[in-house]
Symmetry: C2
Subunit: 381 residues, 2 copies
């Protein structure tokens, strides 16, 4: 937990020192480390802060070369000078979520009471818990109100939870490719991934770090299954079709004859190098548990009297978080007369479209943020 | 391979005795056992035979209580006296596919040259190979022309291959919820299942029978992932939603809190009791390899000059073999002026609809078969 041991870029602070974080499961957590990264500068009245919430396997390295993979940050397209989240105008914050594996406390971190990795003794956390931890960070940074909270997929769940739980702390909210609750089918896909991990003997009941092993095979299978859900059938067809991988003809064997097989295997293999299997269990569980209506009585009930400006965005070919899920939220917001825009972007790239270069998406995001910045009185570049 | 060792109901014969079966991969197979079951009686001129082709995890027990699971046959709704495949009128045949695990030669059978189970030394087979073996059975039964060939999913692939390969042997063909080639997304889902099996240390490179083990965990994960694709999002939502399993509240753990998790786990656990993991590898591979256009130059080319009467059926909510796939075949058949009907059935039950009680589906099937029976001069009941 010490600052010295954390060699990744960005910051790592201890939260829950004076007052512990009370989790939904009943456990009180603290002190605990939370890792985050920032881009741009916080202005004098601290009114230009944008919190970006990352998705299941994302992290705080949203707008820079990733320190482990060496690839561009997951939202490099969106965060930077002159980009929609213009770092010459905004102060962009992104924190590794609670339960994550890149510096924030999670199952692979050391439990100070035992001196060993938490493993499955780590408490099950929720989206609300992630948001509570982020609020502690925002308090720590002395920011009364975030100019905007943005995120896609699980990030969108956090955005919705932020707006529902701390409406006075949020000026504008942009939930992208999200939902007010995790669907039955999505829980099912997550359960397949978890079972794949737990079926791997190298998982050792979650204590693999104590055994010097890691359930690479199970985690790779989980990633492969999930990865299919991030793409559209059409995107897969256009990208790979039935093309063969570096061969002229079928081999009549179980090697990766088809490009799509080779691609999926690669997704699995590279993922295990940067992600912790237990974190995958915990974070998928948090998504499964997410259900705004269950906590607030109804989705509309979560936003009663809200002053937050909303912009919801979905993508036509996203079958994991389809437009209908965003529409449910929009209807609820309309029912409480909230200030809400909704845009469905035409794209055949599936759920992953929110991570990709979709010009209309960039324009919508820029336009909405610029409009809000004017209202908020933020000076342009 | 001996008759005595086969204690399941139905028949088991040795094929490829005089002439071996030349497989697409180049291997010649024979003699080899093929297990099949029949219902009803073959008429004097052998003109009332219907061949039913089963799907990936189906088998020959189409119209009777399954001898292993004790559940109704997989098409019990369709096969029997007074049902669409009326056994008082038709002689219904269903054979366990090549590569299967219920009596027909497959990776779990004994290789006569080594005295050990084939395992991965079993040759990789194709849909065409399955059909070639079935043709040997039909020859053996002395049937010149099948009155009809029917099947759903992988069964539909076999039906299309029958009509393309042996058009003079088929009077009518009913490919249900099928496709002329396996899509990129479907190959991807199969690859996830195969990787789950092969990641299980109990798989032992395919030699698990020699090790006295079986890769139950990997096969269960494969089944769970596949099972999601057999249902529609809406069917899952209607059936389970976010309902909890035998509990009042979330447990904040990794047990099956949600009914959909419990259901999926059950699907995995029961499947491994009746299915062989290597068969799963081989049969999924055969489906992946299926591509009529690759073999015949084009889908239309596969049916040039055909006299076969076709009836294609798809289901609106089937996202594994969507209507567009059937439509591609219909367009090809139209291009060669074939006799073709096409019905898309309104159903929210997903791909599995072809196994379920869908009244419109039953009516379409009955109507088409009755019409063909009149043309063929088959006497009614």
């Amino acid at each position: 937990m010490s600052e010295a041991a954390f060699t990744l870029p960005g910051y790592r602070i201890d939260l829950g020192v004076d007052e512990k974080l009370r989790l939904d499961c009943g456990v009180s957590l603290g002190p605990f480390p939370l890792a985050y990264q920032t881009y741009g500068e916080l202005n004098a009245d601290k009114s230009n802060a944008i919190l970006v919430c990352h998705a299941l396997t994302g992290d705080q390295f949203v707008g820079e070369t990733h320190p482990i993979t060496g690839k561009p940050g997951w939202w490099d397209l969106m965060v930077g000078p002159g980009k929609p989240l213009d770092t010459e105008r905004y102060f962009v914050i992104c924190a590794n979520v609670l339960g994550g594996c890149l510096g924030t406390v999670g199952p692979k971190e050391t439990d100070p009471t035992t001196g060993k990795p938490y493993g499955l003794s780590f408490p099950v956390i929720t989206i609300a818990d992630m948001v509570r931890a982020q609020r502690m960070l925002i308090d720590h940074l002395g920011i009364d109100q975030l100019f905007a909270v943005l995120g896609g997929s699980m990030g969108a769940m956090q955005v919705l939870d932020w707006a529902a739980r701390y409406p006075e702390r949020v000026f504008a909210a942009v939930p992208i490719a999200g939902a007010a609750r995790h669907s039955s089918q999505n829980i099912a896909f997550h359960e397949v991934g978890r079972q794949a991990i737990m079926a791997d003997p190298d998982w050792h009941g979650g204590d693999y770090l104590l055994h010097g092993s890691r359930p690479h095979r199970g985690l790779a299978v989980a990633r492969m299954a999930a990865h299919i859900t991030y793409l559209s059938e059409r995107a897969l067809h256009r990208k790979f079709g039935r093309n063969l991988q570096d061969r002229e003809a079928l081999t009549y064997g179980f090697d990766a004859d088809f490009q799509v097989e080779s691609y999926l295997r690669h997704q699995g293999i590279t993922f295990v190098e940067r992600f912790d299997a237990n974190s995958y269990l915990y974070i998928t569980r948090a998504m499964d548990y997410f259900d705004l209506a269950a906590e607030f009585g109804s989705v509309a009930g979560a936003f009663e009297g809200t002053q937050v400006r909303f912009c919801l965005i979905s993508f036509t070919s996203d079958w994991l978080f389809p437009t209908s899920e965003s529409r449910t939220v929009v209807h609820a917001l309309n029912a409480v007369a909230a200030d809400v825009s909704f845009v469905e972007i035409e794209s055949d790239k599936g759920h992953d479209a929110f991570l990709l270069d979709e010009p209309e998406f960039r324009e919508v995001l820029s336009g909405f943020l610029n409009g809000c910045a004017e209202h908020r009185g933020l000076v342009g570049r």
